[in-house]
Structures are given as structure tokens and as C-alpha cells.
């Protein structure tokens, strides 16, 4: 039996510590890890909890992130509650195995502390790694602060291990901006947190010797497509379980999460739609702009990046005239991926609002309230003109001459 850990109702934790406490409270059976900045403390703390008797589990140190996720797959297939953490290059090295985890329908929870991908080498936060995983068949949840990194990690186990879902879940938090920022966090007591998740009830577990199973079967063109289709259906259908988990969590804590979050959107003419910590900074900017200049600004945020909430995004933005979609990842020869998703959602709306794309914050470049205000004002100018007056894609917060691409053909 695990030792009791003393917790206060109110703690001052950074995002990493918060996530590691969630792993402790979930009593994760196995963490297989190859630590990498800025996610290191999550698995480091798990190791310490195991060593000090606070978790009845196993910390396995391996030789690469590829091996880390492979080990997680083995432990999860064996029937355990399994988690790990990574960032950036580590995430990239894990990429091949991420698809195996989702394909085998293993409920692993991966804490991703978002960090830029080299080159040039950079340890700070952007969403390059998160985007790299977006087709991997994992549910992807986004935390905007340390409290949410904790809350969503708890919810992630509940969703992943649900028998109608049985899919791995990533919980993303912004490197340093969330992971290394200490703030007030209001944790659940241990038994409450554990009861919220419940015991893991394994499916097809390899340690069930009464029913030996094969994992990792080979399927060629006569079977592969059907398996991938079933997997896609499962992630598309996971929304109900995610919503239920969020509702149950609200009953326990009063903290309500939605797959799409809206702030000041009731009467908004212009909106920023964002991921991660940028959301909260943009919310402050929207409030300020409403007070100072009467611009009806609002913010829409994606809590659940996969499965992508097309209907909820369309609903949240249907009355807006101009939208700035903010991508914190170098798009590499295209519009931002998030811009493409939002555009797809809005193209089939009645209103077909103007949609623009900002590439910002790469390598941890600061996103300030003033810049958010400038972006809102530019959306207002598009709305007043009735068409996009700038390039559709622009870089925000960049030094040097203005950089933008692709112009509208609507007038």
C-alpha cells in the first residue's frame, strides 16, 4: 500500500509538478521514460514517488524515447495503467511508436510538454511537437495553465481507459510557460482523485494467461483499411466519453471543461482562436479592448485538438465576422494546420466568416497582450472592409520586414 502524501487545499505548483502529482494520484503502474527538457520533472518526480513509497509502481529508465513508448506499449498491453512524458525531439523519436499505441488501442497517457523542434536547437515552447502527433490517432487535450495540466491528466486516464474508447491520450502543456510557471493549484485529495478515475479494467491484457492474445498483427490490403477505419471511428466517437468525464469532473471540483472553450463570444464580431497559454493572454486582451475601445472581441480555444471539434468550432464562431487563427508551429510551406482545420469547419457555415492565419511564438517567442490587441484590431478592419485586407497568412512578433503569404480572392 502506498504511503500517504500530505497535500494542502491550495498548492503553488508548476505544470510539471502538477502533472506528476496526477500520475501519483492515479497510482500509475508503470512509467517508462527517457527524460527530456522541459518535461523532465514529470517522470523524475514519478521516480521519486516510487522510490519513496508514495506509488506502488515501476519506473523503467530506457535508452531513447522510441524505447520509452515501446516499453509503455508493452506495459499497457500487459494490462497496467501506464504513462510517460516527453517533449520536442523526444516526441519526434517517439513518433513511429505513437501510431502503434493507438493502432493497438492501448490507453497510455502521454504528458507532452510542448517544445520547438530543431533545427535551430531550442528548448522553449511552441507547438511543433504537438502538430507532429496530430495524425497519430491519439486523443489530444490541451492545458492552458498548471491547474489544467493536473486536471486534464486525471481526466485523460478516465477517458483513455473507458472501454468504449480504449485509445491513448496526450495531455499537452506549453513548455516553460506552463511547465515551469508556478501558480495556485487546487488539487483533489488522493482518494477523491483516485475514485474519479477508478481502477483500470484491462482489455485483452497479455498477463491474462487464460486468454493468450497476439498484439501487433500484420494486415495487408485485405484487412489494414478496416482496422484503421474502426480506429478512426473510435476516436471520432470518443467525444461523448470526454464530455462525460468533464461533467463528472465539474461535479467534483466546480471546474468545467469543454472540448471547445469560449470567452466573451456572446456578441463578438472578431475572434482569436488559439491553443495553449495564448488563449488566456488573448482573453485578457479581449477584455481590455472591449473596455477601452468597445471592440467586440472574443476568444475561442481548443481544449480537445483530436478528435477535432468541427461542429463546436463552427457553432462557437458562427456569428463572428473575422477570425484570427493562431498557429504556434512553423507551417513548412502551407497555411498553419490549425488554420486549415478551422477553415474547414467554417466553410460549411451559413455565415462563412473571414478567416486569417497568424504564425507566432515559435521557439517560445513571447505573445503579449499588446500583440493580441493589435491582431483583434486587424480583424475589426477586415470586418469593416468586408474582406481580408492583409495577406491571409502573416507572421506575428517577428523581426525584419513584414512577412505574409496568400491573398483572398473574395472582395
Amino acid at each position: 500500500m502506498a504511503e500517504k502524501f500530505d497535500l494542502n487545499d491550495r498548492e503553488v505548483w508548476d505544470g510539471n509538478y502538477a502533472a506528476s502529482q496526477a500520475l501519483r494520484q492515479a497510482q500509475v503502474d508503470v512509467v517508462v521514460a527517457y527524460p527530456i527538457t522541459p518535461s523532465t520533472p514529470i517522470v523524475e518526480n514519478y521516480g521519486a514517488y516510487v522510490a519513496n513509497g508514495y506509488i506502488d509502481g515501476e519506473f523503467v529508465m530506457v535508452e531513447s524515447e522510441h524505447a520509452a513508448m515501446s516499453g509503455c506499449i508493452g506495459a499497457s498491453a500487459a494490462g497496467g495503467r501506464v504513462s510517460t512524458a516527453t517533449s520536442s525531439q523526444g516526441f519526434a523519436l517517439m513518433a513511429e511508436v505513437l501510431y502503434q499505441a493507438s493502432g493497438m488501442r492501448l490507453p497510455i497517457v502521454l504528458n507532452v510538454v510542448n517544445r520547438a523542434l530543431a533545427s535551430p536547437l531550442n528548448v522553449r515552447g511552441d507547438h511543433s511537437d504537438m502538430y507532429l502527433g496530430r495524425d497519430a490517432g491519439w486523443i489530444q487535450m490541451g492545458a492552458f495553465n498548471a491547474q489544467e495540466a493536473y486536471d486534464l491528466a486525471l481526466c485523460a486516464f478516465k477517458v483513455a481507459e473507458n472501454h468504449s474508447v480504449r485509445l491513448p491520450v496526450m495531455v499537452h502543456q506549453d513548455g516553460f510557460i506552463t511547465s515551469h510557471t508556478a501558480q495556485n493549484v487546487y488539487p483533489l485529495m488522493d482518494d477523491v482523485a483516485y475514485d474519479f478515475i477508478g481502477d483500470i479494467v484491462p482489455v485483452d491484457d497479455m498477463l491474462d494467461f487464460s486468454r493468450p492474445v497476439t498484439y501487433g498483427a500484420q494486415t495487408e490490403e485485405d484487412w489494414h483499411f478496416e482496422h484503421k477505419a474502426r480506429q478512426h471511428k473510435a476516436i471520432m466517437d470518443s467525444t461523448g466519453v470526454i464530455d462525460n468525464a468533464f461533467e463528472e469532473f465539474e461535479k467534483l471540483t466546480g471546474r468545467k471543461y469543454n472540448r471547445v472553450e469560449s470567452y466573451n463570444m456572446e456578441d463578438a464580431d472578431v475572434a482569436i482562436i488559439a491553443l495553449g497559454t495564448t488563449v488566456e493572454t488573448a482573453v485578457v486582451a479581449a477584455k481590455r479592448l472591449r473596455e477601452s475601445e468597445g471592440v467586440k472581441a472574443g476568444v475561442v480555444a481548443i481544449r480537445c485538438f483530436r478528435p477535432f471539434p468541427y461542429e463546436e468550432v463552427r457553432e462557437a464562431l458562427k456569428n463572428v465576422k473575422s477570425i484570427a487563427v493562431t498557429d504556434r508551429s512553423s507551417p513548412g510551406g502551407a497555411m498553419g494546420a490549425f488554420f486549415n482545420e478551422v477553415s474547414a469547419a467554417m466553410y460549411t457555415s451559413e455565415s462563412r466568416p473571414l478567416v486569417t492565419n497568424f504564425i507566432y511564438g515559435l521557439g517560445g517567442r513571447d505573445f503579449s497582450i499588446d500583440e493580441a490587441i493589435r491582431i483583434f484590431k486587424e480583424q475589426q478592419a477586415h470586418a469593416d472592409a468586408g474582406h481580408i485586407t492583409t495577406e491571409i497568412q502573416q507572421f506575428s512578433g517577428l523581426r525584419g520586414p513584414h512577412l505574409g503569404f496568400f491573398k483572398t480572392a473574395r472582395s
Binding site: L106, D204, D222, A229, R230, K233
Partner: protein
């Protein structure tokens, strides 16, 4: 001809891999392409011989690849010394052996690769390749004599 169902249970080699029947839709395939090896409780399966096991339809035991074979190995029990070399080397677990006694070939899974013949140390060999349609008696009657060492 050796008994084609030597030491076989009811469903050994009953399905054809090439046949293309039973191709299920996306809503019917197993979750995560995880495949159970046996039907029912398999707790004691390790203590059972193959012919007593309840292999599931997902297990290759129940499929046949006999048609992949052009020539077949024939086993001559009179020459065999039960060294188990063929059992060790066979890549398809098609050598049937019990208590270290060689019994014959699993013709549902043998692909006719000839490895067993190659590794057989006896003189003459206790396993030799014959045309698929050759009868056992004919094959045995054509078995070569012991070769003498050339001086």
C-alpha cells in the same frame, strides 16, 4: 500415404489463406487488431498437446498452406534415429514429434522447403522429397540404399 491428419485436432488447416472468404467489415474486426489464440479458457493450454487444444480461427494452426507446396518431404521411420534435428530446423513447426520420437509431417503447414531433408544426418536420409502426388508406399519402395564411403 501418411495419415494427413496425423496428430491433428478437428480444425487444423481447415481454412484457406487465399480463399478470401470471411473478409469482415470495419465494424466487425477485432479492436486494435488484437487476436486471441484460443477459444475458451486457455489456463491449462500449456499442458495440452496440439491436438487437444482449442485453437481459435485467428490462429495459423487452423489455416492450411498445403497448396503452397510442390514437392513434399516423406518420412521413413525405419531409418530415423530420432535425433530431432528436423524438428529443430523446421521453420513452420511442421515436424510432429512426441516424447522425442519422430512421428511424421504436419502436411497442413509444411511448405515443402526441404530444410528437414537437408539437415537429416542419417545414411540414407530418413526424410526425402517426392512429388506431391507420390503415394507413401511408392516413395518408401524407392528409398535409396545406404551409401558406402568412396575410397
Amino acid at each position: 500415404m501418411q495419415d494427413l491428419k496425423l496428430k491433428a485436432n478437428d480444425n487444423r488447416g481447415m481454412s484457406q489463406l487465399e480463399a478470401g472468404f470471411d473478409l469482415l467489415g470495419w465494424d466487425e474486426v477485432t479492436q486494435g487488431s488484437v487476436l486471441p489464440s484460443f477459444d475458451g479458457d486457455a489456463s491449462d493450454i500449456v499442458n495440452k498437446k496440439a491436438e487437444e487444444r482449442t485453437y481459435s480461427g485467428f490462429n495459423s494452426y487452423t489455416a492450411t498452406v498445403a497448396s503452397w507446396r510442390v514437392n513434399k518431404p516423406v518420412f521413413n521411420i525405419d531409418v530415423c534415429i530420432d535425433c530431432q534435428n528436423c524438428w529443430v530446423w523446421c521453420p513452420d513447426s511442421s515436424i510432429l514429434s512426441r516424447d522425442k520420437q519422430m512421428l511424421g509431417i504436419d502436411y497442413d503447414h509444411c511448405k515443402g522447403c526441404e530444410v528437414c531433408v537437408e539437415v537429416c544426418p542419417t545414411n540414407p536420409k530418413s526424410l526425402l522429397m517426392f512429388n506431391e502426388h507420390t503415394d507413401l508406399e511408392v516413395a518408401l519402395s524407392e528409398w535409396p540404399e545406404k551409401k558406402k564411403k568412396e575410397k
